[in-house]
């Protein structure tokens, strides 16, 4: 135990002096989170704003004049009616961007309305232009509003109210709490951050402490010391685990701080999220981060022990980055819930449990199952790593 503590302390000191590790542990989570919130969210909001505020060039085609419709269209003051485009060249005009939308009423529109029948209205636009795709909602709203006006005229003629055509009024009542709603949305995104950062935080020291040591020749001197191979590998494993935990915690802290400071998050969302993030949730998340990091540390250290050099370790471990993401992504699919079976699948169980923790609906037994599964896998991983550390063909591979 004393030797293990000596190895742990030395490896920790060595790791904390490595600039690459510090970058991955502290700086990278901040940069990623900051950029996601302040660039991508701002970009998304700006696009939405531009789509809403953009002056749309719209051509309206109808065999009869439609003053009511045109008035309605220009009500918002951000629509310019284009009269230069002929009906025959609608497709080309929309495609080359001369107009944003073309609204084409059927030739027999007036007759159909008079006969109290339905008439088709074609809306032409270019969906590949993301702004226009977003602005389509504005055009739909106007057409629907015009349709309602026409309907009202028909109903008045017959002395009927709108209730006649609307025998049922749907009243959606979501009984889930604000916390549950936010949990379902935010809980899907949250595992992205800490699962990836747990992995990345453990990756650099794992490569450095095994493959790096082999490359530098320090592994041989350590193997001749009185420390057993199990003590050596456990010391390294604990440091790699600690690094993963620290990185995950740093990412949660950065996420909280950046979220709080972000001007792009609407205040009602911000206050809702802050209500959700309470101490109990954070403690439960932390309880899962520990076995998750231990599980990653065991996998990464085994891969690193196998590698001949730092470079080879990087090439073995890089594809694992993507493999880790797959279960996280599966966890976001609707309909997949945490149960006794899904709690057995590593990483997916973390993804699902996080949603439940944030929504405040986690079942204690399932939470315990998730932690136990991860601890068991981490222990197996550590034993496997120690087994590899004992194999001459692995430890002296390429030496």
């Amino acid at each position: 135990m004393k030797l293990l503590a000596i190895i742990f302390k030395k490896e920790l000191k060595d790791m904390l002096r490595d600039r690459r590790t510090i970058f991955f542990m502290i700086v990278m989570p901040f940069l990623v989170i900051f950029l996601i919130f302040n660039l991508s969210m701002r970009l998304g909001m700006n696009m939405e704003k531009r789509a809403q505020e953009k002056e749309l060039r719209v051509a309206v085609f109808s065999s009869a004049p439609l003053p009511g419709f045109v008035r309605l269209l220009q009500k918002g003051d951000k629509v310019k009616i284009d009269t230069r485009v002929a009906r025959a060249e609608i497709d080309r005009a929309v495609n080359d961007g001369r107009i944003d939308f073309a609204i084409s009423f059927a030739d027999d529109f007036s007759e159909s309305i008079d006969r109290e029948e339905s008439s088709e209205v074609g809306i032409y636009y270019k969906a590949s232009t993301s702004e226009n795709e977003r602005a389509l909602g504005r055009i739909h709203k106007v057409v629907e509003e015009y349709g309602k006006q026409l309907l009202n005229v028909r109903l008045q003629k017959k002395n009927l109210t709108t209730a006649f055509v609307e025998p049922l009024r749907i009243d959606d009542r979501d009984v889930s709490s604000v916390r549950e709603k936010i949990g379902q949305r935010l809980g899907g995104m949250f595992p992205y951050f800490f699962v990836i950062f747990c992995f990345l935080g453990a990756m650099v020291p794992a490569i450095d402490l095994a493959a790096g040591e082999k490359e530098r020749g320090t592994m041989e001197t350590l193997l001749v010391s009185p420390a057993s191979r199990l003590q050596i590998v456990t010391g390294k494993f604990l440091v790699v685990t600690a690094s993963g935990i620290f990185t995950a915690l740093a990412s949660i802290v950065w996420l909280y701080l950046v979220f709080r400071q972000s001007r792009t998050v609407p205040p009602e969302v911000l206050s809702g999220v802050l209500k959700v993030i309470e101490w109990k949730s954070l403690l439960l998340l932390f309880a899962m981060v520990i076995p998750l990091c231990a599980f990653f540390a065991a996998i990464l250290l085994s891969a690193s022990v196998f590698a001949k050099s730092y470079k080879e370790a990087q090439s073995i471990i890089t594809p694992l980055n993507f493999m880790v993401l797959i279960p996280v992504l599966i966890g976001i699919f609707p309909g997949i819930r945490l149960n006794a079976a899904t709690a057995l699948i590593p990483i997916l169980n973390i993804s699902l449990a996080t949603k439940e923790i944030i929504a405040g609906t986690i079942a204690p037994l399932l939470m315990a199952e998730v932690c136990l599964v991860l601890f068991a896998l981490a222990a197996l991983g550590l034993l496997f790593c120690a087994h590899w550390f004992n194999r001459e063909s692995v430890i002296f591979r390429g030496v």
Partner: protein, 255 residues
């Protein structure tokens, strides 16, 4: 004392090795060390000579408990390297040509780390560290990060690391490789000092000058087999070539 009896070490061939299979290799394994026996006594320096790939490093790694023999037996300071590996490691100091040092630690931190791993008491560790730093001239750069030291300085730290626990047995695997003349000379002096202190010293080298300067006993190894094992003086008496180097080449070519 090191006693090596009928020591053999076989390795499975890698894919690349299978393609370039040498004439002496049979099947899917190669015998890096094939039934060698010798003994190194306290107060004497034993040189292990051989061309590249002869099996010197493999033999030294087995002595230092890093590799397990396929067959045969090694005893270091009276302890079996397989059954009592932990005890062997407490009594051995191992120095490789490639200085295995932690570049982000200082010489002081590095030496203290290995001292603590050997279970040394803090007072004894501090005393021994002072002595070694003084003998090797490490004091001036004891607080600097090892990554910023010259190769000569690093080798001195490596030696201090090897000797911090005052081991009875010292294994030097090509200790002067890549070093400048002055640093190499200081290492040779240190190896001589170890002999004077009654320690058992085994070292491997390519440099014949070092062999003549240091050896009391020597073994010549080629393709894992022992071509000669005896005293340096007897080797010189039996010599048919003009120089030690020529004799070494003659024996290897005849084998």
């Amino acid at each position: 004392m090191i006693e090596v009896e009928n020591l053999t070490k076989s390795f499975r061939l890698t894919k690349d090795q299978k393609k370039e299979k040498a004439a002496h290799v049979r099947g899917n394994t190669v015998e890096a060390v094939a039934g060698i026996s010798f003994s190194c006594r306290p107060g004497r320096i034993f040189s292990l000579l051989g061309p590249n790939g002869a099996g010197k490093t493999t033999a030294l790694r087995m002595i230092a408990t890093m590799l397990r023999p396929s067959s045969g037996r090694i005893a270091v300071a009276g302890f079996d390297t397989v059954r009592e590996a932990g005890q062997v490691r407490r009594h051995i100091g191992f120095l490789t040509g490639a200085t295995g040092l932690y570049e982000r630690l200082t010489p002081t931190e590095m030496i203290e780390y290995y001292g603590r791993l050997h279970g040394m008491e803090p007072a004894l560790l501090a005393k021994r560290k002072r002595e070694l730093f003084s003998i090797l001239g490490i004091e001036d750069f004891a607080g600097r990060r090892i990554g910023k030291l010259s190769s000569g300085m690093k080798q001195k730290v490596s030696i201090a690391r090897t000797m911090i626990h005052d081991p009875q047995v010292l294994v030097f695997d090509e200790p002067t490789v890549g070093l400048d003349v002055i640093t190499a000379k200081s290492i040779i002096q240190l190896i001589r000092q170890c002999r004077s202190d009654g320690k058992t010293v085994i070292f491997s080298t390519h440099i014949m000058g070092e062999v003549s300067l240091l050896s009391d006993d020597l073994a010549l190894i080629h393709r894992g087999r022992l071509l000669y094992n005896g005293t340096y003086d007897a080797f010189m008496r039996e010599m048919k070539a003009k120089s030690l180097e020529d004799e070494f080449i003659r024996r290897v070519e005849e084998a």
